[in-house]
């Protein structure tokens, strides 16, 4: 009996079921992407946000960000002075708070804000929210090349996008690019990613969002990312947001 089992296993491995070469579904690939994107227990980093207009004029903003798990993120602007201190707390179940220092208290943000541009960048609040792709989108594998998979993502709930075409690295499963299409099926935005290995994690060192209609782009550079610092859930509370 033991011998039979061993032979069966050997046949299975020889057929390729034990490694990546077997035909994966879009959903499986997307889940692997989420595992790469959210593999660390937590993250803290500084961000440099460079907004470049069509004419080439640049504005620079800086922020700090901490993230835990798949759905908790606290983002705080540190410059320019007019925005310094403005912070956004993103929690599970679409709960988002904004803290404006001039009001001295937090304010719940309605989820309709998600389709709007985030603080004058080419990213929307939805793009900035810490939420796994597989929670938000259904995936269909539409192409496989030597280097990447191409997935078509369609939103599970109401979204500003009709679909996203995502290219995903074939062996490391991080995103290479994503193209966003509006409800008229026109490509409106494009994102490119630069990933680098930091310790044992693949880290998005730069994300660039191109607004194809406006001709502008926004780069988010992640500086000094630190993973698995042991951030507690208490770091993602109103108490921390307002202090």
């Amino acid at each position: 009996m033991k011998k039979t089992t061993a032979i069966l296993l050997a046949i299975l491995f020889s057929l390729g079921l034990g490694y990546q070469g077997y035909a994966q579904t879009g959903t499986e690939i997307l889940k692997k992407l989420d595992q790469v994107m959210f593999s660390a227990k937590d993250l803290s980093a500084k961000n440099k946000i460079i907004i470049t207009s069509k004419s080439g004029k640049q504005e620079v903003r800086e922020s700090t960000v901490i993230q835990k798990g798949q759905e908790m993120r606290l983002f705080r602007f540190t410059s320019p002075a007019s925005q310094a201190g403005i912070a956004m707390l993103s929690l599970p179940n679409d709960v988002m708070y904004i803290y404006l220092p001039s009001f001295g208290k937090e304010r719940r943000i309605s989820s309709s804000v998600k389709s709007q541009k985030f603080a004058g960048t080419d990213f929307s609040y939805d793009d900035m929210q810490a939420q796994p792709f597989s929670d938000k989108y259904n995936a269909k594998l539409i192409e496989t090349t030597d280097k990447y998979y191409v997935l078509e993502l369609t939103p599970k709930t109401k979204s500003a996008y009709s679909k996203i075409i995502a290219k995903i690295h074939k062996t490391e499963y991080y995103p290479i690019s994503t193209d966003f299409y509006d409800q008229k099926n026109e490509k409106i935005k494009e994102t490119t990613y630069t990933f680098a290995k930091v310790g044992k994690y693949w880290s998005a060192s730069e994300i660039t969002m191109f607004d194809l209609k406006k001709g502008s782009k926004t780069q988010i550079q992640m500086i000094q990312p630190k993973y698995d610092q042991g951030l507690s859930d208490d770091e993602f509370t109103i108490r921390k947001l307002i202090n």
């Binding site: 907004i51 207009s53 504005e59 903003r61 320019p80 002075a81 007019s82 925005q83 310094a84 179940n93 679409d94 709960v95 009001f103 001295g104 208290k105 304010r107 719940r108 943000i109 309605s110 989820s111 309709s112 804000v113 998600k114 389709s115 709007q116 541009k117 603080a119 004058g120 960048t121 109401k158 500003a160 406006k214 502008s216 208490d234 509370t237 109103i238 108490r239 202090n243």
Partner: protein, 458 residues
């Protein structure tokens, strides 16, 4: 007393020692100017303010220091006497206000207990700018178009955060601070008209304020708030026992007289206003349904004692006894409820709308005296937020639903905000007012105005 000062000093040194660590002092703030010119009557320049809003902050590993100072050139110069030219305050009206100055110790005494001591703003409520439950700090209605502005109060503020989404807060404010009323031409907005019979002339009117005695029991304010989040709904319940910052008429002393030539009768009036102690029970919530934000607040106010107005009408013959009557204005067992409901929505193309319905403004008292206020604002950003256009912004106020045409106020305030660079905001707006009856904006409807503001953040 010496013993208490000694213990307090030790406690202060202990707290400072705990808080004094790490990080550099951050200095930031804004420089702004706010200029308003009326277009309706011959008053010309009605608002002139240049403000340095300076903030100092030093974060330490378990807390922070924070101070906010306003240095302002505020008001128009007045130099109609020769002596004024020798007085800098008249030529360049200038003032400094310490808006906030406190230090904070996180995990004070035990974990999850935060302490803030000093002058501070403690904002309660979930509504947008107008919060019936936000009664700890004194209102600052100097600029009646800057709704919801409060001054800081000297306070001891303890907040304990439970694991999860709940917190409980206790606040003690040893000193009472009254409201500061609207400045300049807006002074009439909140002052009720003093009515006298048609055939009588008001010769003089003196209003005295009865300041609460400097004793803890007369000055102190206590507040508690439980805050939480259950199933997508943020809520809080609060209680406050303190003194209302807006004084109430408690005595009117009328002395009639006759002028022989020319012949007419007149009255001299001495009025007394007092600050009334009250209990305020508050509830608020905010949530998100179908992408829209919803919030609401209710504040139930119950006076500590019956509020009477004593009217003394003296006889024209001084030797005869005056007529004295006491009229009950609000009984201590006649609570009244102020509330607000609001909603907002972000449109996919970038517009934002905010609607609020409020019952009872901050200066209104008694269930039958509360008016309805409807506020709306729609703004739309252009050029990635560099330009914001607010075509719809204003309020509609009804004093009497049975005769709306004779008892309403309407305010319309379109606005354009331009940010040439991220640090600079230039605002151009127009304020148009119309009303009938005793509404707040009816009293100042002659002062439609252009407003230009510029602000630089550093």
């Amino acid at each position: 007393m010496k013993k208490w000062i000694f213990i307090s000093s030790l406690l202060l040194l202990y707290l400072l020692g705990k808080a004094q660590e790490e990080s550099a002092l951050k200095i930031y703030g804004t420089i702004s100017t706010d200029q308003r010119v009326t277009t309706s009557v011959d008053s010309g320049w009605i608002w002139n303010e240049t403000r340095l809003d300076l903030k100092l902050e030093k974060k330490v590993n378990r807390g922070k220091f924070y101070a906010n100072l306003w240095a302002r050139n505020f008001g128009v110069p007045k130099y109609n006497e020769m002596g004024s030219l020798f007085n800098n305050e008249k030529i360049d009206p200038f003032n400094i206000q310490l808006r906030e100055a406190y230090f904070q110790v996180d995990d004070f005494l035990f974990e999850n207990l935060d302490l803030k001591i000093g002058r501070q703003r403690i904002a309660w409520g979930t509504a947008d700018k107008m919060n019936p439950t936000d009664n700890l700090n004194p209102l600052d209605v100097e600029d009646i178009f800057d709704m919801g502005r409060h001054r800081g109060s000297d306070a001891v503020n303890l907040t304990y955060y439970f694991k999860g989404d709940f917190s409980i807060q206790g606040v003690w404010m040893p000193f009472f601070q009254p409201v500061n009323l609207p400045a300049g031409v807006f002074a009439n907005a909140l002052m009720p008209e003093f009515e006298v019979p048609e055939d009588v002339t008001l010769n003089s009117l003196n209003i005295h304020l009865n300041q609460p005695a400097f004793r803890f029991k007369d000055q102190s304010t206590l507040g508690f708030r439980l805050k939480g989040h259950i199933k997508g709904i943020d809520f809080s319940a609060s209680y406050l026992y303190g003194v209302n910052g807006i004084p109430e008429l408690t005595q009117v002393d009328v002395t009639p007289g006759i002028n022989i030539y020319p012949w007419y009768t007149y009255i001299d009036v001495e009025a007394q206003l007092s600050f009334i102690r009250h209990h305020v029970f508050g509830l608020d919530f905010s949530t998100n349904i179908g992408g829209m934000g919803f919030w609401g607040e209710a504040a139930i106010t119950k006076l500590d004692k019956d509020l009477y107005v004593k009217t003394i009408v003296r006889n024209i013959v001084p030797t005869m006894d005056p007529t004295i009557t006491d009229s009950l204005v609000i009984g201590k067992n006649e609570p009244y409820v102020k509330w607000i409901l609001g909603t907002d929505y972000h449109f996919p193309k970038g517009g934002y709308i905010n609607l609020q319905w409020m019952h009872g403004f901050f200066h209104e008292r008694g269930q039958g005296e509360l008016n309805d206020y409807f506020f709306v604002q729609y703004n739309h950003p252009f050029f990635d937020g560099k330009l914001s256009v607010v075509p719809l912004s204003g309020a509609f106020i009804v004093n009497n639903w049975k005769e709306v045409k004779e008892n309403y106020s309407l305010v319309y305030m379109p606005e354009i905000i331009y940010n040439p660079i991220p640090e600079v905001a230039i605002t151009l707006s127009y304020i148009w007012m119309k009303g009938k009856g005793a509404g707040m904006f009816s009293a100042i409807q002659d002062y439609d105005m252009f407003v230009i503001k510029a602000k630089y953040s550093f």
